[in-house]
């Protein structure tokens, strides 16, 4: 544990609030300006090829629909293991991401090759009692999930009840056992970059292994500037504590161009140590096919088409 907690930062809502509100603020225009400037980087040739492969290896291939069935989940898992049947050099993704009640099916399909991430804690709204959220978490872990993507209580956060949010994360982390925990902020509901910065530090204090932007069910989901703020937070946290926490933007990342922009940002804000699926993930579904199309183009020299990638 960190000395910050030992210093009693989380002994009361007042002390936690003072700590979070004492962090340097974020100027919206400045942050968006930096993200936009980083987005002008032009990544070509060999560096583009490597970035595409890296991005593929960082995808949490996701299906989170009410109409998910075992058949759908199995198809997703097959693609996760072998994204491009025409090219066995294609890396596999980092994880599949499913609802907790599908975790067993997913684990059966992927074995130990990729991670099984399950959303839990009354995803996506987070509106349920703590007992229900913890039961949700334990079920998913028991069913074979080795990663849990939880949502924070945004209502509590926006009402200033930071300690409640903190305590919930601590409890879910405990319920995870050895599974690693991603904490979803739903940045589209937090609305300000200051809130995102505070949520980041709160989650890291509480034991998050990863901080994640969105559920993908609310717009705006992941954006470059919001991810920039979270990358700056994990960078600062590492300087203060020596711990490396991961970042996962999720939702709205559809093209290789987008993905490469995120990788550039990771590279220039956190450094190469974060350029690994252990510390950076993309929460996405359609992104994978665009990455594969770009990969095929670089391999063959001509533009590819939707018939040359599998729909699932």
């Amino acid at each position: 544990m960190t000395t910050l907690l030992d210093d009693g930062i989380a002994t009361s809502n007042a002390t936690l609030r003072r700590y979070l509100h004492g962090l340097p603020g974020v100027d919206q225009v400045g942050a968006e300006g930096r993200a936009a400037m980083l987005a002008t980087r032009s990544i070509k040739a060999a560096s583009k090829e490597r970035a595409i492969d890296l991005a593929i290896s960082m995808v949490d291939l996701t299906t989170l629909e009410g109409m998910d069935t075992p058949g759908k989940v199995r198809a997703l898992c097959a693609k996760a293991l072998r994204p491009d049947p025409t090219d066995p050099t294609t890396p596999h993704v980092a994880a599949v991401c499913v609802y907790g009640d599908m975790a067993a099916i997913a684990r059966d399909a992927v074995g130990d090759i990729v991670h099984v991430a399950a959303v839990a804690t009354a995803f996506p709204s987070g509106r349920a009692s703590l007992a229900v959220k913890l039961a949700d978490t334990r079920d998913a872990v028991a069913n074979g999930a080795d990663e849990i993507d939880m949502v924070i209580d945004r209502g509590a956060f926006l009402a200033g009840r930071y300690l409640d949010v903190f305590d919930e994360i601590v409890a879910v982390k405990e319920a995870c056992g050895t599974a690693h925990l991603k904490v979803i902020f739903e940045t589209g509901e937090l609305r300000t970059y200051d809130n995102v910065r505070r949520a980041s530090f709160l989650a890291m204090l509480a034991g998050a292994d990863f901080i994640k932007t969105s559920t993908g069910k609310v717009s705006p989901a992941a954006t470059l500037p919001v991810t920039l703020v979270m990358l700056e937070a994990v960078r600062d946290w590492h300087r203060q504590t020596g711990q490396r926490i991961g970042v996962k933007p999720a939702g709205g990342i559809r093209t290789s161009k987008d993905a490469i922009r995120y990788l550039v940002m990771v590279n220039e804000v956190c450094g190469v140590a974060w350029l690994t699926p252990d510390l950076f993930r993309f929460g996405a579904s359609t992104l994978l096919n665009d990455l594969l199309l770009q990969r095929q183009r670089m391999r063959t020299g001509h533009y590819s088409g939707p018939d040359y990638v599998t729909i699932d």
Binding site: D27, G30, S42, K44, S47, A51, E232, L263, N267
Partner: protein, 478 residues
Amino acid sequence: MTFDYAPAPESRAVVDIAPHYGLFIDGDFVESIDGTTFKTINPATEEVLTEVTEAGAADVERAVKAARTAYKQTWSKMPGRERAKYLYRIARIIQERSRELAVLETLDNGKPIRESRDVDIPLVAAHFFYHAGWADKIAYAGYGDKPYGVAGQISPWNFPLLMLAWKVAPALACGNTVVLKPAETTPLTALAFADICRQADLPPGVVNILTGAGQTGRLIVESPGIDKVAFTGSTEVGRQIQRAVAGTRKGLTLELGGKAANIVFDDAPIDEAIEGIVNGIFFNQGHVCCAGSRLLVQESVQDEVLDALKRRLATLRLGDPMDKNTDIGAINSPEQRARIDDLVKSGEGEGADRWSAPCALPDRGWWYPPTVFTGVTQAHRIAREEIFGPVLSVLTFRTPDEAVEKANNTPFGLSAGIWTDKGSRILWMASRLRAGVIWANTFNRFDPASPFGGYKESGFGREGGRQGLAAYVKQEVV
């Protein structure tokens, strides 16, 4: 794992540089009568780009006469709404040729293509658009509506085409004709602009471009046929020009040097402040009159800010300006590089601590790594003299009034930056800082609607906005 960016060069094919350029007088490129020629060089590669002409006394006379005739016979008789349409045409053509102009600017100046493409050229077009709209509304600006007549203008090498736009657009909008001399190390975009004037069918003599160096500039300033002088450049040359104009009835505006304070308080949004500091002094290689060349950091956060700053500087990419991923380009000339070196040595000699970003410098061309001096006080030369390079001097302060005092303690007064989360503090500081442009929680923002210019030895007069028109409308003082 590393993530090296492969070279991403912008193509040079879009520009077509002739082997030789004459002078643009009375609507055409003509050969010099009594001048000579000189070369212009790509500072990133030392390659000779082309040969241009240095206008002599007879050339200056011819150009001034052409401008006078165009003023009397054409431009002063033309209604504002027609002048406006010429300026709109020019704005449009600039947009159409923007890629070519950006590449040309980078080749001649050494600034990264990303800057010329994303900052310089778009602002050039915007300047012409903005002033086109004023041409038939001058009387509404509040300065009367009488132009001076013929304006003699001298523009600098740091933003060559943009500084030309800052001079030419308002002058023409207000009904003046111009004779403009671009800086001797960066003539090419001015010559392209001459071609744009031709494409726009601008009446001959309304814009005349005379390439040359100090002597040509002097001839223009001293020509009796010039009614108004506008100069952007060093304070020393500004003094000489002001002396030369004293006692004549010529109008004069000057935009000179600076040594701006970028003030960071303990409650500043740190990451954005770091970007502002970096942008403030390393953007355009520090070749910016309004550069935030003095960082005034509140003592209580100096370690945190300096740590973050050095880590950020280590990610700056220095190299080929034509590479789209380059952040820091070449120093414009060997003379400028020598001057930077000289001042940096003085900083070390006076006991300040120097840190330079660890970047490899290309073998050819003129370069300087981003450099930070800490332990600087007001008494150091590097805190007082304009370096005009990527060198930041860091000083500390304890209280807001001390920050204001230190910021104002300079003969310059062009710009200042304030970084704090507290609005009332920003407004308090802004009314006390003696600087013509104040950036609060941002830096180096420019816009044609925003007046730009300095206090004290940073010059007088403003460029841009309604207030900028006063430079080109002759006001009677009773």
